[in-house]
């Protein structure tokens, strides 16, 4: 009763706000493009359309009492709208509207089912659902430059066609993956915990307080997982046949380039499966996504015979490259195969390297003919290429020698005298056709089949060359060594199972890594299995005294997928034998039995109780999408990213909480 009285009293007021919340419902499937597909050329003008959307362009006068504007509907289509002055009065960019009207073919166009741009909508009715009442940042008024929108207005950025398409693509490709894995291969998706155990060895983890009290009196912490590695291995021990998940992962390393504190990984693992089977699945996933997005217009390429690029039709086309070979040929385990710059090993020219550091007994060069004209050219190139920004990770710089005089040419070897001895420099320079104007970039690296400095100085230089904004260098490379246009994928296999530990405490001598003599770490992670024919070699190390040299020869069953010089993901066959895993922990990685139980007890228990052999993989989903969409950073493919300090400018996180 009271309600009725109250209602009557206020019913006539505030029509404006009521209007905002009352609107006609649109059937989900009836947006413009669909309607265009359903009507024929003669009839489409008769049907009145109801459309929701935003004003993309401020109304402008076309003739007396006829105004034109553009509406972006909630599917991202742009539609020209025609109305009179009264109808479009006060309408602003980004106002949220509901309109009704009839479609007309534009005077200058022919009928086409395909292109909404050929049509315009004659307004019958317009209703403002939400009026922009904030000074929208001026550069957003056209939304043509989403890059300039401030991070705190990410939601405006996401309204633009580029980002709307990104969101759709990200969703659609996940579904392509799921349908393939679930429907064709019987994978099941399993969700694994995000509140995991802290393993202080990692040092890159985010700690979560168990108490909700800031002071966390209990000193109890969860940690957010860096990957579901241990969960998925346990799932294999749990009898799951084929597992996958789009998993959230966390790494507290905000100062590294193009990393996000949280990211998504397409994680998978199969029991009773080998690496070969996993690689087939992963290759197929990647190729399916690529073809779904690009069709046949822009397929993935790989290296065929003769190192010519060929289209990837099926996974088995994807070139397998050996770790040792790519380290020798490209100086990196994730070589950008689009780059035509070659590393020339000077061994065949009689170079004796290892002068400064005997382990580094290869001398190799990059030869760039006819690059410089004078001292200034050389200086600018050296300044760019050796810029300390490129070497923040303390990696070694190569030596750059510019040939500007006959002496520079005849005694080119002197520039490299510290690292290599070349007996007949003139013979070599003639052989390689060195000339005045050339630039030689040279460095030493470790023995073949035993390269752990990764990338090598020249491997790194191959990439740096192409990041330049120096016109001299850019023009030269574009003309003489243009990067291939094709997107090139390859597998990298036959990795060493262990790597020497680099001692970061000891200052590097001339930049060489200081290896801790006698101790090793897992090249990838300690759960990786060695190659089967290396089992005897591994067993010997576990039983007898460890011989570092022999240990480092052991190859693992790890495999990386690399596209355009970026590691898209990696995987391996894992250890499933309790004794072997425990001995590797104890003898090779120096983890005491007690500590093993503390850190990995769950996994070792499962190994003891009939865990099957298993293999798996993880694709960095954000990274893969950024390559696919040709974006420079993964921020562009994450709906709400953080900046490179881990700060979210939109939501204002993290925030300060004072401990009481």
């Amino acid at each position: 009763m009271l309600r009725n009285i109250l209602f009557k009293r206020y019913q006539s007021t505030n029509q404006a706000i009521l209007n905002k919340f009352k609107f006609e419902q649109i059937n989900s499937t009836s947006y413009i493009k669909n309607i265009l597909n359903q009507v024929d050329a003669d009839n489409f003008e008769k049907k009145e359309l109801l459309i929701n959307g935003w004003i993309e362009k401020k109304p402008s006068k076309v003739k007396k009492d006829l105004f034109q504007t553009k509406l972006r509907d909630n599917q991202g289509n742009l539609l020209t709208v025609i109305g009179n002055k009264e109808q479009l009065k006060g309408i602003q960019v980004e106002d949220c509207l509901q309109i009704k009207g009839n479609l007309k073919l534009r005077a200058d166009k022919l009928f086409s089912n395909e292109d909404i741009e050929n049509f315009e909508l004659k307004l019958n009715y317009l209703k403002v659902l939400n009026k922009v009442d904030s000074p929208v940042p001026s550069y957003t008024t056209t939304l043509e430059s989403p890059d300039l929108i401030q991070e705190k207005y990410r939601f405006l950025q996401l309204r633009t066609p580029k980002y709307a398409k990104m969101l759709q693509t990200r969703s659609k490709l996940k579904n392509v993956v799921r349908n393939y894995l679930e429907d064709e291969l019987d994978f099941i998706e399993v969700e694994t915990p995000l509140l995991f155990k802290s393993t202080p060895e990692g040092a890159q983890e985010y700690l979560v307080q168990y108490d909700d009290d800031v002071s966390n009196k209990s000193n109890l912490y969860y940690a957010l997982p860096q990957s579901p590695q241990q969960f998925k291995q346990l799932l294999m021990g749990s009898g799951v046949s084929k597992y996958y998940q789009f998993a959230k992962c966390f790494r507290n390393e905000t100062l590294r380039k193009d990393r996000q504190p949280e990211f998504t990984q397409l994680d998978m693992e199969i029991s009773f499966g080998t690496g070969k089977e996993v690689m087939e699945i992963v290759g197929e996933v990647v190729n399916k996504c690529w073809r779904t997005y690009y069709g046949s217009k822009k397929p993935l390429f790989t290296l065929g015979s003769n190192n010519k690029v060929i289209t990837v039709e099926k996974e088995s086309d994807i070139k397998r490259l050996n770790y040792a070979d790519v380290m020798a040929k490209y100086g990196s385990d994730k070589p950008d195969l689009r780059i035509p710059i070659k590393l020339i090993n000077m061994k065949e020219f009689g170079a004796k390297a290892g002068l400064t550091n005997p382990v580094f007994n290869n001398f190799e060069i990059i030869h760039l003919p006819n690059l410089i004209k004078n001292e200034n050219d050389l200086k600018s190139i050296k300044t760019w290429l050796l810029n300390k920004e490129h070497y923040l990770d303390q990696s070694r710089k190569p030596i750059i020698h510019g040939i500007l005089t006959q002496h520079d040419l005849d005694y080119w070897n002197e520039a490299f005298a510290d690292v290599a001895n070349i007996e007949s420099p003139k013979l070599v320079s003639r052989s390689l056709n060195m000339k005045i104007g050339d630039v030689i970039i040279g460095s030493d690296r470790e023995a073949d089949n035993f390269v752990f400095e990764n990338p090598t100085p020249l491997g790194k230089m191959r990439n740096i060359l192409y990041q330049s904004d120096l016109p001299l260098l850019n023009d030269y490379l574009n003309k003489n060594y243009p990067k291939l246009k094709e997107d090139i994928v390859s597998w990298i296999v036959n990795f060493p199972m262990f790597s020497p530990v680099v001692n970061s405490e000891v200052k590097r001598i001339q930049g060489y890594p200081n290896y801790n003599v006698g101790s090793v770490e897992a090249t990838h992670h300690p759960f990786t299995m060695c190659q089967l024919d290396h089992i005897p070699l591994l067993q010997k190390q576990l039983v007898n005294d460890i011989k570092l040299h022999e240990l480092l020869f052991i190859k693992s069953q790890h495999y990386d997928l690399v596209i355009n010089g970026i590691e898209v993901g990696g995987g391996s066959t894992r250890i499933h034998d309790h004794d072997l895993q425990s001995k590797i922990f104890a003898k090779l990685l120096n983890i005491s039995l007690e500590r093993q139980t503390e850190l990995f007890g769950h996994l070792l228990d499962a190994f003891k109780m009939g865990c099957p052999p298993h293999s798996g993989f993880a694709i960095g989903w954000d990274r893969f999408l950024s390559i696919l969409l040709n974006e420079k950073t993964i921020r562009e493919v994450i709906p709400f990213p953080k900046n490179n300090k881990g700060v979210d400018m939109l939501f204002g996180s993290p925030s300060k909480i004072e401990k009481s």
Copy 2:
């Protein structure tokens, strides 16, 4: 060269470990059932099968040199295996094997394509891939009682058919949902951040340290989100038309019954959409899942006309119940409609309630005829029903009156004299046909249309009655008031938008909630929109002085889906108007403008910049699955759950980290 020498030297050793890692690869699709479908009755014995799996049953002798065991393959099928003594020597339960053999029809069976139990496999070859070398807990030797397996061996539990099926169902139903939302309705899935902003008002959040250092010197924290509510509303402001996500949510309330610190929510939101549209989608999702799992054998039911149960064929069949009506009829906003116990409001019998607390002016009873025989019966029933375990949440207890004598019958009202006055008790007892042996449970509750104590004492009692392990009560209810067998779903609508704040600081007087006079909180969350015809009433409150009584009459556009007395999920149409949202924050919820910007600035900004009207929903995915699979706790449907203290016994998290 060195490698070759080393290999030769150790090649002959350690054949055992080599064996563990070498096995024949099975093509993914060729497991037993498939093969059975492909072969005919005459030919299946000729094909040798290769099968991976685990020993389910210790080999037993069937006749001289013929042993029998059971293998569980990695699809969960159980197969009888026949071999000789030598082949099965030393084989133990849960050993992980690869075997080869020929299928034979069992002597006592007829050929059938369907049932693997009709066949046995004659062993040709057996290889142990991983031998159990731990004392597997003895009760797991048959794996027939997974409930008894210790939490730390969750992986053994997951190997049992019950849990294997759960994992498959969880995955499959997610895919059913995705295909419906994406393929039929054009939803896109958007991933939202997990490192969110701390909003200390919540007090139930997990804090994540920004520093990786335990001491967290910066005092900067992220918080894990309790739901993606604000993200999804921002996505609506970002031009996303239809959003969904299986989202991870976190609540730091480990001491509440059947809660997990992390859980999964099927989260969705549509722009330019109303609650009606959302309810259609949600109802369809739930019904599709139910039918996928149960087929037509066990459909969902709802209330039809006359309150008879009817099958849910389509979403619009699902009964809409008003909040006010269910509070009056069932005393709870999530009534278990399977329970036939009725609450009798004594108003029609002339009862005058509100004696202790004038706001609580309804007196209602549950009448259980012919339940007790003597004082002992009454005592045991009272003890069970009023057990303080049920009332840990400080809710009020009803009064229980047992009728054992004529006096108890004639003056039954005296038991309730504190809360209600009944003028003619004998007239009423005759009317209701009260007899010696009956039990009357009675309590007062708030005025109709204004019930905020939820559940009411009798609403709560309806459920407690059916949780009893008291034979007397169980037998009585089973015989006289059996719970319906059907699973019953309903919508609850027309919730109050605001609720009075219960002052937990002040001690309750006789259990009644102490409402803070003059202050309210959002019944669901502060982003919920009111019903359109209540806008004038709301506006009045925002402009003039607040009148609590009028404010509490305002109904929201919130809707809950309830199955079998459990809230599966809730949703609403949201506020998208900046002024309205900000005024509600400021005037009704006492959030200053400054604090609004700090907490919700991102959302208020989006509202100012053309955010469309929008509505959404969230289904508690774990809870829904636990209802579907008829499990008592959500732990049963989570792959790696934590216990009710938030402790993970398998991984040992959280763990202690000493601050330095």
